[in-house]
């Protein structure tokens, strides 16, 4: 007997069944792309822009049906922890294990930080999972000298859409010595894998260029007060300061060096490029700082203006250059999956990795090809200087970081 209540129940049941049925016909096979950035702490702002770049590529591919018969799904993980206040290598290793243990993940985008990359690479290598980083630039990760450490299983799995600090540091040293004419420099780093490597590479080249290196010290990213070291640098009459490191210590360094060393030339690498610094350190402290990125400068390219507008509309914030390298990284993985699916081959991790290694990829930054270690063949380092533009939002990276040019390479 059908009572009123059971009728409602039956109706609801039918409705649910219909909805489920509606989806069932489009049940493409799901395939996953891992995304891993440092979404908590001192570098969260740039991390979010990179994550959005990768997500945008995946969403577009799904909307256009780029990969026939498959639905792409992003698995977004955060390798930063609250206790570290920035990226945490232990968390990065955990995330790498999560990717590897999920059989549907065939490729990954990330990480942002070389310190995280160093923890992830060996695990990804054992799992045969390729990752493409849009930002981590430490050269050790792809250096064959460290192959036993970072690719124990043999084949390279750590690819990039940026070049490395083997170019970023020295090229900036050339720029500072020849273009800025610095004579006496003090060098700092933030004790992280990226920061130390960057400062080492920079220091070696700038000394070769005949610039006097007054000293080298390391900032504790957890400490608040850098006045001791900055006062020391002031007393040495340095005319310039170079910082290898990321935003967590960077924000405090920028703030305090503005008070103590207002008139010297100050520069850093891609760890200082981005919205975290503009928001956290702000103006006038950020004004005048030089920063580099290990990629061509693209956000002012008129060919990309529609892409830029679409990004801004979708995520409510202007993209950074590393949003583009991140979009490119996801594009490369999607293209490999597409080609495999179109050729009727099984989409496996091994197949995706091999496809990345040998492919020629059309990306927003131009054609990308890889050498035998997983590094991009183009080695462009772009230099920026922060100059306050009051008419634009003060945390708009494209507006506040003025592009100066490609760093010279000797």
């Amino acid at each position: 007997m059908i009572t009123r209540r059971s009728a409602v129940g039956l109706f609801a049941g039918t409705a649910i069944a219909t909805t489920l049925g509606g989806h069932a016909y489009a049940a493409d096979k799901v395939i996953k792309i891992g995304i891993n950035f440092s979404l908590t702490g001192g570098d969260a702002e740039s991390a979010a822009r990179m994550r959005d770049g990768a997500l945008m590529a995946i969403d577009e591919a799904n909307a256009k049906g780029t990969v026939k018969g498959y639905k792409l799904e992003a698995v977004v993980l955060d390798d930063a922890t609250a206790t570290a206040g920035q990226y945490d290598p232990a968390q990065a290793a955990t995330n790498a294990r999560k990717f590897v243990s999920d059989k549907l993940v065939v490729g990954a985008v990330g990480p942002q930080m070389s310190g995280a990359g160093k923890a992830m690479a060996p695990i990804l290598s054992q799992g045969g999972l390729a990752i493409i980083t849009p930002a981590s630039t430490n050269p050790d990760l792809t250096d064959p000298k460290f192959a036993a450490q970072y690719r124990p299983a043999g084949k390279p799995v750590y690819f990039r859409t940026v070049t490395t600090d083997a170019y970023q540091g020295p090229n900036m040293a050339d720029f500072m010595a020849t273009k800025l004419g610095v004579k006496a420099i003090y060098i700092l780093d933030d004790q992280g894998a990226y920061g130390v490597g960057m400062a080492d590479a920079f220091q070696k080249r700038i000394a070769e260029k005949g610039v006097k290196v007054l000293g080298r010290d390391q900032l504790d990213p957890k400490a608040a007060d850098y006045s001791a070291i900055l006062t020391k640098i002031k007393s040495m009459n340095a005319d310039s300061l170079y910082y290898g490191g990321v935003g967590t210590a960077g924000v405090k360094l920028v703030k305090q060096s503005y008070d103590i060393l207002p008139n010297i030339k100050k520069a850093g690498g891609d760890g200082l490029y981005g919205g975290d610094l503009l928001k956290g350190a702000g103006f006038p402290a950020m004004d005048g700082w030089y920063a580099t990125i290990a990629a061509p400068h693209m956000t002012e390219d008129t060919k990309l203006s529609t892409w830029m507008a679409a990004f801004k509309k979708k995520y409510g914030a202007a993209p950074e250059d590393y949003s583009i390298t991140s979009y490119d990284a996801a594009t490369i993985i999607i293209e490999c999956i597409r080609a495999l699916a179109a050729a009727g081959k099984p989409v496996t991790r091994e197949a995706v990795r091999d496809a990345i290694q040998v492919g020629k990829f059309k990306t927003l930054q131009g054609e990308i090809t890889y050498d035998t270690n997983g590094d991009v063949n183009s080695k462009i380092v772009s230099v920026f200087q922060v100059k306050q533009d009051d008419k634009q939002p003060l945390d708009d990276v494209a507006a506040q970081f003025k592009y100066i040019g490609v760093a010279p390479q000797s």
Binding site: T40, Q218, D220, A224, D225, S227, G247, D259, D276, K279
Partner: protein
């Protein structure tokens, strides 16, 4: 810059740092003196204080590098922000004591201390969840006034730190020496049972200690923000750890000891950065702590506590 100027400058840096450590250290010492409890939630009460003051300042329209106000209105706003941060943190301290520590009163062993570690993480994660993970740009409303001492520079913000810290420490000292509640606090510290028999309300004394200690941490939080021009959910850890070290170095439970310890740690931090290298600062500070505790287990000004059993 001559060597003397440099030394003067580093001493100015160190004393400012030390004053802030001392303010936080007082909170550890007050509570320990009375309950023999190391209150680790204090780390993050300090952090919450810097956020409270930040939002009060922003409510008055002071944000970023704006110099909207000057003169007395600015002083007024700063005083209001300081008071709100202190009272807010004071109540936070009282709530922490009432909810998480009073039920454990009389429980032997480290459970109360472990609880404070838990509370510390709760505060930390609440701020992380609701206020965001980014480094906040703290307003810098102070006029860029500087005084030259030879080649060294003394900024208005350093003077502000010293004045506020000295005033608060002097106030606390007078309070514990002169007021009735201060006397009750000292009596409870010496012997809680005897104090209770003499009619001291021990629960109220403990609550007052938590209020005062946390209020000082709140003041420290605001000073931190104004001095460094940033705050973040992680600031509690390193400042709190150094302040705790200062309290132990000076003799935990001893009010002048906390001030002395704070100054010593602040000066060591800047001078070792100058003479050795900042990467060795922690090694130097904690080696010194170990050395002091080997020769004076109760700290510099502390006396070995009488056996209370």
């Amino acid at each position: 810059m001559t060597a003397t100027d440099l030394l003067v400058q580093q001493i100015i840096n160190g004393v400012s740092l030390g004053a802030m450590y001392a303010l936080i250290a007082l909170g550890f010492t007050l509570v320990y003196g009375i309950m023999e409890l190391i209150n680790f939630s204090h780390f993050n009460v300090f952090m919450v204080g810097s956020y409270i003051a930040l939002y009060v300042l922003e409510a008055f329209g002071i944000s970023g590098q704006s110099t909207l106000m000057s003169g007395w209105p600015l002083v007024g706003v700063l005083v209001v922000a300081l008071l709100v941060a202190m009272v807010g943190c004071g109540f936070l301290g009282v709530v922490i004591e009432r909810l998480s520590l009073r039920p454990l009163r009389g429980v032997k062993g480290p459970s109360a201390m472990i609880t404070t570690i838990g509370v510390s993480y709760i505060l930390f994660n609440l701020v992380l969840l609701f206020l965001g993970t980014d480094t906040k740009n703290y307003p810098n409303p102070l006029p860029p006034l500087t005084f030259a001492i030879g080649g060294a520079v003394l900024r208005l913000r350093e003077i502000l730190i010293w004045v506020i810290s000295l005033a608060l420490m002097a106030g606390l000292y007078v309070f514990t020496r002169r007021s009735k509640m201060g006397k009750a606090m000292r009596a409870t510290a010496q012997d809680p049972d005897a104090a209770r028999m003499m009619g001291v309300e021990v629960d109220r004394v403990i609550m007052t200690a938590f209020f005062l200690g946390s209020a000082l941490a709140g003041a420290g939080g605001m000073i931190f923000g104004l001095y460094y021009n940033f705050t973040s959910f992680v600031i509690g850890y390193s400042a709190g750890l150094r302040a705790f070290t200062a309290a132990v170095l000076g003799g935990i439970g001893n009010v002048p000891g906390a001030m002395l310890g704070g100054m010593i740690i602040g000066l060591i931090e800047t001078l070792s950065g100058q003479v050795v290298a900042v990467r060795w600062t922690d090694v130097i500070i904690f080696s010194l702590l170990v050395l002091v505790l080997v020769f004076r287990p109760a700290g510099l000004l502390g006396r070995v506590a009488p056996n209370k059993s």
